[in-house]
Symmetry: C2
Subunit: 419 residues, 2 copies
């Protein structure tokens, strides 16, 4: 047998037993595998929670890169290693932005991250030991569950609407799981995946519960500027500051992002929190990837200072029409027995089908026979419950595509109901 | 007392007890605090292990961003979310690059990371449970220790030159520390911090030891293309492939970077390994920050395909002169009793002062009175040993600055010897 043939037949190593115990929580999901195929022509995707690239301010982004690279001194700075905490001018702009949201803070309270996802990764790295409890809404953001799960926590349901859970019951459950409650995680505005917004009362209740448990609240707020109607509800961090008096005394940790308003291509987000937390997170940032791309941060400064309000206005107008198209189509086509959320902003509608529907198996049929895709609801639960739910994103298809796609979804649901 | 005054006096929360146990390993170092001040005018810095920004190919980088953003379709792709595993064209280029290094592989063997540092972070996340043992050379790369330490490992010295450690002794020591040996980590070419290159024999010895221990080798190779004289030594991964026959059977995990040849501003590096490992790392990438910046990856493709060889040549010529200047100055000025490495490439010289010198306290005097900076040796040891050593980087000062700076360093050493 030639060496070449032997080499092709070489056995691969069995890596599983060599991994850390946390690797067991990192399996790929059947849902992710299904959604790999939605980029086909002919499929209308309501799956991806991603911004519409038609809204990217391309001319301004071209100008921004050109401006940053224009003279050699500025270009060299933008292409060198840079401060782990982030670009000073960008942190300064975010201080102003957070101030307008009612959060008085200083640059020492801001860490630049590779978008909000890296912020979540850092926060669970900082807070979660194995068997500690993370309080999450059910459903919650899929990416948060992915980030948290690598640190082997236990999940408990964060319930804000009913009162059958007390601080004591959370604490007892965490102790029974051999850990402590370490934080509560929420997406307060136009939540991923439901599109719902926490009421002022729910925010106050959450602050009271977090106070009783003496835990931090992670307020993940990437959609907050995409409001299409209704009134702004104050950020949880701003409500806390009104009580505790200063950001450095606050238990709320706010994660923000430029991805939904501008572009995810820059990979720029931030964490706003007590400097005691930011100082630890800077060490985590150093150890994780030294710093975020300096050139992309400089471009973010350019875009934020030149056109933030204008870009928010443009995005709101476009997404409002798409949201209306989706809600109108759902009302027009969906058969009896289903219900859905009516978001005031963001990118998502949460659809609940009649009991007995299985959105995971429905997705296969939807892609193959109806040319539509969505994310099955179980992806957004730590325990995969509520198989009769699904997330619809209205950000990508155009108005006609939304109408036609929801009409096909309704036809699929109707045909399944007949079976 | 007014509300405003109260707010300023509000007590900050005591966060320490709320953190995960791993946070104890994330303290900032006295050395890092000292080095914060080296960016002053009048200080010649031999401290930062960073590339010379005068070598950044600015015109090509401007052209690259312009080309990627030129038409709307390409720009929109470059600014959208993208595949966690990385840009297909970039992975394809790296496949060719690794092939030229003797590592036959496929795109499925490549993950794009935010530079090599993120690769190290992901690998310790994948392999290290608390109390597991990481084998590292002493000294080793400071950033690797920072990345690993968050996962609470035990360190053991990887000795490649002497033979008083056997696989059994490593295994026994790891078991006594209540864990297992999980990997060996090396920077084989022009190492950070010593500038030394592992000999072919040392690489073969390491592969044999790793085989006996049945562990992976992490080969961190960001400086490999910056060779100024001598002959290339084959990558450890290529030596392993010559034995085991295929990348998917290899126990070597190779980390690469575009930061030293092109620019660190893109934050683009990669891991080349068995697809069984890459598949797990893709899940870690998703959970950590979803994907690396698509626009920066597209720029990396442009630069790599247009001018890699030319840029390597330019960097080699410039750094060779600087290395020569540093070695000549050390020979000319340093008093008896000190010795140093003579690197064939990379950015670093490792200086050993006579017994009794303390490079940490020396640094304070060096910055304040002699206008020079370096990194004290203890930073590169998990246990802070060898306080009479220090790392000198020749990448940033110009030739005259290197000569003058080493002359001042020699004067400082001489004055301390007289005390």
């Amino acid at each position: 047998m030639s060496a070449e043939i032997m080499s092709r037949e070489a056995e691969t190593m069995n890596w599983e037993p060599r991994f850390a115990s946390r690797a067991a929580g990192m399996r790929t999901s059947e849902i992710r595998d299904l959604l790999r195929v939605v980029d086909q022509p002919g499929v209308t995707s309501f799956a991806g929670g991603i911004p519409d690239s038609a809204l990217f301010p391309l001319a301004d982004i071209r100008n921004a890169y050109q401006a940053v690279l224009a003279d050699d001194a500025s270009a060299s700075r933008a292409l060198q290693y840079s401060a782990s905490e982030g670009d000073p001018a960008l942190r300064e702009w975010i201080v102003g932005y957070m101030g307008r949201k009612g959060v008085a803070c200083e640059p020492e309270n801001i860490l630049i991250t590779n978008d909000a996802q890296q912020g979540l990764e850092f926060l669970c790295k900082l807070f979660l030991s194995a068997k500690d409890t993370a309080l999450v809404t059910a459903p919650t953001y899929l990416g948060a569950l992915q980030a948290f799960s690598a640190y082997e926590p236990v999940y408990d349901d964060l319930r804000l609407a009913d009162t059958n859970r007390t601080a004591l019951s959370y604490r007892d459950a965490a102790a029974a799981a051999q850990g402590a409650v370490k934080f509560a995680y929420v997406v307060p505005d136009f939540s991923n995946p439901t599109g719902e917004t926490l009421s002022l009362q729910a925010r106050r209740d959450l602050l009271r519960l977090a106070g009783e448990l003496d835990i931090p609240i992670i307020e993940d707020n990437p959609y907050t500027d995409l409001r299409y109607d209704g009134e702004d509800v104050p950020a949880i961090q701003s409500l806390d500051l009104a009580n505790c008096g200063s950001i450095n005394a606050s238990r709320v940790i706010h994660c923000g992002s430029f991805s939904k308003v501008f572009t995810p291509g820059l990979r720029v987000g931030w964490i706003c929190a007590s400097s005691a937390i930011i100082n630890r997170l800077i060490l985590i940032k150093q150890a994780s990837d030294l710093n975020s791309s300096a050139i992309n941060q400089a471009v973010a400064v350019y875009l934020a200072t030149q056109l933030f309000d204008e870009q928010v206005k443009k995005a709101r107008e476009s997404y409002r029409l798409k949201r209306d198209a989706m809600l109108n189509a759902l009302a027009a086509y969906m058969p009896e027995g289903s219900h859905w959320t009516r978001p005031e902003g963001g990118l998502f509608v949460w659809l609940t089908l009649p009991e007995g529907f299985d959105s995971v198996s429905l997705l296969q049929k939807a892609i193959a026979e109806y040319g539509i895709a969505f994310v099955p609801g179980p992806a957004f639960f730590a325990d995969g419950r509520l198989r009769n739910t699904l997330r619809l994103s209205f950000s990508l298809p155009d108005i006609a595509g939304i109408d036609a796609g929801i009409r096909r979804l309704a036809a699929l649901v109707r045909s399944e109901q007949r079976l």
